[in-house]
């Protein structure tokens, strides 16, 4: 089956990494050796760890956890990208920590509020904190893991490099009890929000000292992408209406100024005039994000546009000139990025449209036919002739393979709808875990949102929740209880078993009761969305 082909692809790459490249960060598939790229963390191994569990390989997961505990050291004199270290290393370690019990790792008594992988994640994150010591609260892009921010370091950081911390840092704060991580992440998000233009857009590079926009191209892709992503995912993870309303404001401006025929272009952030009529490979995450806010119709329409580009080249070029219908000079590569497959995975959960499986099929065929070499899978240097480059980025195993596998594996535990869960006893009381609703960070490391409620001793909160539970059940008995509409996607929301998760559900209800009901829940789908499959789209839904 296709799922088994994806599994075979994973092991072909993974085993060659271990054999030829470990302990370097990445495998070089054409020369069969390794190199350090983003630091010196055995990055591919950290990044691939939770993919092992999603493929069901618990024994290798356990082995790697031991290897990492012994082998990885963050006290090194290395200049590291704050953003990349967060999403790949902190994110990878956090998700592995939260999944380790499911993977059969012997966990210590305080788990999930303590544990070796959590300590490693915290250690890595603390190395990044000096970058946030700026007048604006927006972080530098690069930090030295031993000495902090280098003197003379450029204050110019990309927007995504500022706004892509909340998922990992809030999780860290909730698990460790130290609020510093969530605080710096929120402060950086607010600084970006404050500096948006009058028409509601952000550029893609800003000076973190003066808060002046250095690059004023506004769009949804490179340099900005995961900022928007984390507003939505942060809002869902933390049930935070403020983050969601920020996103919805941006969404309006993006639709107004950058959207043409279901494509998203680049515009000048103050004037809204088109600066680049280009589709970027990185932008292909957008339909998936739209599905998380329930905008499935628009998501499918944009997805179908992007899919035509894949069909033209067998991959997505970094830049695609929309009016010319061709690649852009020097931007013809495809480093086996996951974004379009990621969107297909989300949308397939929402619509079950066979077109999405077809993209999966095309991706498997393309990657195998074009980029498979003896030692792994090589970046496509140029989509026009399919020349290969000597690199296999760690996101290939962390994201591309993971999303492909999840697309073809409808029964994977990641897609759990709450019918299955674990109860764990922690020093703070009983706790429900693994009930589904996982939030993927931007490197596809899943975070269990339920875990965020495990590690705080807050008596009042607990009592309040118990009261609400009682109320919930009495309501259920007397009145016909209108169930919350089932989330139309597997991932974004935690739909838990009513019995054990009612605390969370009641909490959600309480939150949403206060103001507009719709902010954190998905809208009902339009009538014609029933028939919006196999490429059919309908007008005036919005």
């Amino acid at each position: 089956s296709r799922r088994e082909r994806v599994r075979a692809m994973f092991y072909h790459a993974y085993e060659h990494y271990l054999e030829s490249a470990f302990p370097y960060d990445e495998l070089r598939p054409l020369t069969c050796d390794g190199q350090d790229t983003w630091g010196s963390f055995s990055l591919t191994l950290i990044d691939a760890l939770d993919t092992l569990l999603i493929l069901g390989n618990v024994s290798e997961f356990q082995r790697v956890v031991n290897v990492l505990q012994e082998g990885v050291d963050f006290d090194i004199d290395v200049n590291a990208s704050v953003f990349e270290t967060n999403i790949r290393v902190v994110g990878g370690l956090l998700s592995a920590h939260l999944l380790s019990r499911k993977a059969g790792v012997e966990v210590e008594a305080g788990w999930p509020c303590s544990g070796p992988l959590l300590r490693m994640a915290e250690e890595a994150a603390r190395k990044l904190l000096p970058a946030f010591q700026t007048p604006t609260g927006m972080p530098y892009g690069t930090v030295n893991l031993l000495h902090g921010v280098n003197p003379g370091e450029t204050p110019v950081t990309c927007t995504a490099g500022i706004g892509t911390f909340i998922v990992e840092f809030a999780t860290l704060s909730h698990l460790t009890g130290d609020p510093v991580f969530e605080d710096v992440a929120r402060k950086a998000l607010k600084a970006l929000w404050k500096n948006r233009s009058d028409i509601g857009l952000v550029g893609n590079h800003i000076d973190v000292i003066t808060a002046k926009w250095v690059a004023q191209d506004a769009g949804i892709g490179a340099g900005v992408d995961s900022y928007f992503e984390y507003l939505v995912k942060g809002a869902i993870l933390l049930q935070d209406k403020e983050l969601m309303s920020m996103f919805l404001e941006y969404n309006k401006a993006i639709k107004n100024y950058t959207k043409f025929d279901d494509w998203y272009l680049w515009v000048q952030m103050y004037k809204g005039t088109v600066s680049m009529p280009v589709f970027q490979s990185l932008e292909a995450y957008w339909p998936g994000l739209q599905s998380l806010i329930g905008d499935v119709d628009n998501a499918m329409r944009t997805f179908l546009n992007y899919y035509t580009v894949w069909k033209q080249f067998g991959g997505l070029p970094e830049f695609y000139n929309i009016p010319q219908g061709y690649t852009v000079d020097k931007r013809e590569g495809y480093p086996l990025r996951p974004e379009l497959i990621e969107s297909a995975m989300y949308l397939y959960r929402a619509t079950r449209d066979p077109t999405l499986l077809e993209l999966g099929r095309d991706a498997v065929e393309s990657i195998e036919k074009i980029s498979k070499v003896d030692c792994g899978f090589a970046t496509i240097k140029d989509l026009r002739d399919h020349r290969l480059d000597n690199r296999m980025e760690s996101f290939f195993l962390a994201e591309t393979i993971k999303y492909l596998y999840l697309l073809f594996d409808p029964d994977n535990f990641i897609h759990n709808d709450g019918s299955d869960f674990d109860v764990v006893v922690t020093p703070y009381g009983e706790c429900v875990l693994n009930a589904g609703g996982y939030i993927f960070n931007t490197e596809a490391h899943p975070i269990d949102p339920a875990a965020l409620h495990c590690c705080r001793r807050r008596k009042e909160e607990q009592w309040e929740v118990e009261d609400l539970m009682r109320e919930f059940y009495s309501q259920k008995k007397t009145k016909k209880f209108t169930l919350k509409k089932a989330p139309n996607h597997g991932e974004g929301e935690s739909a838990n078993d009513p019995e054990d998760a009612s605390s969370e559900k009641a909490g959600e209800k309480r939150n949403s009761k206060k103001s507009s009901h719709s902010l954190l829940s998905c809208p009902s789908q339009s009538f014609n969305s029933k028939l919006a499959v196999l490429g059919q789209v309908f007008l005036d839904n919005t």
């Binding site: 179908l304 099929r361 095309d362 020349r387 000597n390 009538f527 499959v533 490429g535």
Partner: protein, 548 residues
């Protein structure tokens, strides 16, 4: 680390065979387009399959092409060309946005691009159409067959008494090929009559006349004096004037507004049937055609019937178009029988456990008031039905209690006009034989789901009693669905008819409530996009005339 290795790159792998060497398909995997063009001289009909070796759709279509090739290789040359490899001629000369691309040539005519489903039977059917774009109609009965088809037919009359060819014949032949370029589903069929006596059946007297047959409207003769007799013009004329009683919907899989555009025209009856384009006979389709003709027949004495009867009755004198015109005028002056405007309403069901449903037939009666002598406009106004529905829902509680096997009627006055009143006849239908389910936006979706799973259970466990049920059901249905003859003229709200091949598009049926695992992939539903409702014909019913 060693920095020199950073610059290591590797050229793309060299192309290899895409088709097996034993395949009847010639595989030019190095993209030799020049050789491909040369090969065209060798065969009357050539099919080119332009592929990219990495493309999933090309790989999936490969088998289908091989299958077609194995059946037609003695008459058609199949040439596959790798149009991706950048050293190959094909890639250098052609610029495709997707793969595979299939081009057909009939001698020098081409390319005709095939854009239909990538399934062997459909491809084979299309290739056969390119091989014989004109059907030779040798006899009266063949003409009758040709014309009674639900798809539009164009007949050319050419007398082959002089050699080499009668004037205009080649143009007509080319127009048939040309139509395959435009109308890639091949909906318009082209036929040629050479026998004068057969031609007379459809009033064709002069050789070189081209005739477009229509069922509901008058048939047309190609106006040679107005338009030049060229292949393009004939094709354009046929496309513009053809009648689409039933349309096939074949979404191509890419982004498309097909359903949007069709469903926005008004309520649509979507009929799903398994379809083999190569089959000689399609009994189910004939049945549906009959229903469609009935539906579009506006007056018993008008429309398709006279034409067809006439064809069957060889003794009658030939009609010329002016006679038909006069005939049409006659029927217009004929007072249209007064039919009440009615609408069937299924009352919303509050108890999903309950197995009954109340169905009401709501009619508008205009008893008083001044009526014009001649009614030109179809007199069932959509707004009236709307108004009636509004008043009806206001009084809904009255009907809601009714649980009865008999039909109970009551009249109530319109709020808007003192001259008309509404009649509502309601009865209770057991959910077993529920023919119509209505899903209204979100609220009713939950009960609907509950019902359909319930229905499934019935199918499997109580299949024997169900047959008995069916007997009772048919008279039930006849009550609510009165004679459909001319229904399209009676109401302002026309129902458009569409066919979908359930082998390819069953997913749409599933979306409308069909079960996933059913042996008979037959299903019918009425979708009204504007009102956001759809009605489903019970899947246990076989798709036959009376139930439709």
């Amino acid at each position: 680390s060693c920095s020199r290795a950073k610059d290591v790159t590797m050229p793309a792998k060299l192309p290899v065979n895409f088709f097996s060497t034993r395949s009847p398909v010639i595989d030019l995997f190095r993209g030799q387009l020049d050789y491909a063009d040369q090969l065209r001289q060798d065969s009357e009909i050539v099919l080119y399959f332009f592929y990219a070796p990495w493309c999933g759709q090309s790989i999936a279509a490969r088998e289908e092409i091989e299958h077609v090739a194995s059946r037609l290789s003695d008459q058609v040359l199949f040439v596959a060309v790798n149009c991706w490899w950048n050293q190959g001629k094909c890639r250098k000369q052609k610029h495709f946005f997707y793969f595979p691309v299939i081009h057909l040539y009939h001698r020098s005519f081409g390319p005709i691009e095939y854009k239909g489903p990538m399934s062997a039977v459909y491809i084979e059917k299309f290739v056969r159409r390119v091989m014989t774009p004109l059907l030779y109609i040798s006899s009266r009965s063949k003409l009758l067959d040709f014309l009674s088809n639900y798809e539009p037919g164009v007949v050319g009359f050419f007398e082959f008494n002089a050699s080499p060819q009668p004037p205009g014949y080649l143009t007509f032949f080319t127009s048939a090929l040309h139509s395959l370029k435009k109308d890639y589903l091949g909906t318009i069929r082209f036929g040629v009559v050479t026998d004068k006596r057969v031609a007379e059946e459809i009033s064709l007297v002069h050789s070189g006349t081209v005739y477009l047959h229509r069922h509901a409207n008058t048939s047309l003769i190609y106006p040679k004096d107005i338009m030049n007799f060229t292949a393009e013009n004939i094709c354009k004329w046929a496309l513009e004037n053809r009648e689409m009683l039933i349309r096939w919907l074949r979404p191509h899989g890419g982004k498309s507004l097909l359903l949007n555009n069709e469903l926005k025209k008004g309520p649509a009856l979507l009929i799903f049937i398994p379809y083999n384009p190569l089959a000689e006979i399609h009994p189910l389709l004939d049945e549906i055609t009959k229903v469609a003709l009935e539906y579009h027949k506006c007056n018993k004495s008008q429309g398709a019937e006279p034409d067809l009867q006439h064809v069957g009755d060889s003794d009658s004198p030939a009609f010329d178009s002016s006679v038909t015109d006069a005939h049409l005028k006659f029927s217009e002056t004929f007072p249209i029988a007064k039919y009440p405007c009615c609408n069937t309403v299924v009352l919303p069901q509050w108890h999903s456990i309950s197995r009954t449903h109340n169905v009401c037939e709501l009619c508008v009666n205009q008893t008083l008031g001044v009526k014009p002598n001649k009614v030109h406009v179809p007199h069932c106004n959509f707004l009236e039905i709307e108004a009636a529905l509004d008043s009806f829902y206001l009084q809904e509680h009255t009907f809601f209690q009714v649980i009865s096997d008999t039909i109970e009627c009551s009249n109530f006055l319109s709020f808007y006009s003192p001259f008309s009143y509404y009649t509502a006849c309601c009865r209770t239908v057991n959910r077993h034989f529920l023919s119509l389910i209505s899903s209204e936006k979100t609220i009713f979706q939950t009960p609907k789901v509950a019902f359909s799973s319930h229905g499934k259970k019935d199918n499997t466990q109580f299949s024997i009693p169900h047959i008995e049920d069916r007997n009772c059901f048919i008279p039930d249905l006849n009550i609510s669905s009165t004679n459909i003859t001319g229904l399209s003229c009676r109401t302002n709200k026309t129902l458009n008819l569409y066919l979908l091949d359930s082998n390819l598009f069953w997913i749409y049926a599933e979306r409308l409530g069909a079960s996933r695992s059913t042996h008979f992939k037959e299903f019918a539903a009425i979708v009204d996009l504007k009102e956001e409702v759809h009605y489903v014909l019970d899947q246990n019913q076989s798709l036959v005339g009376p139930t439709l």
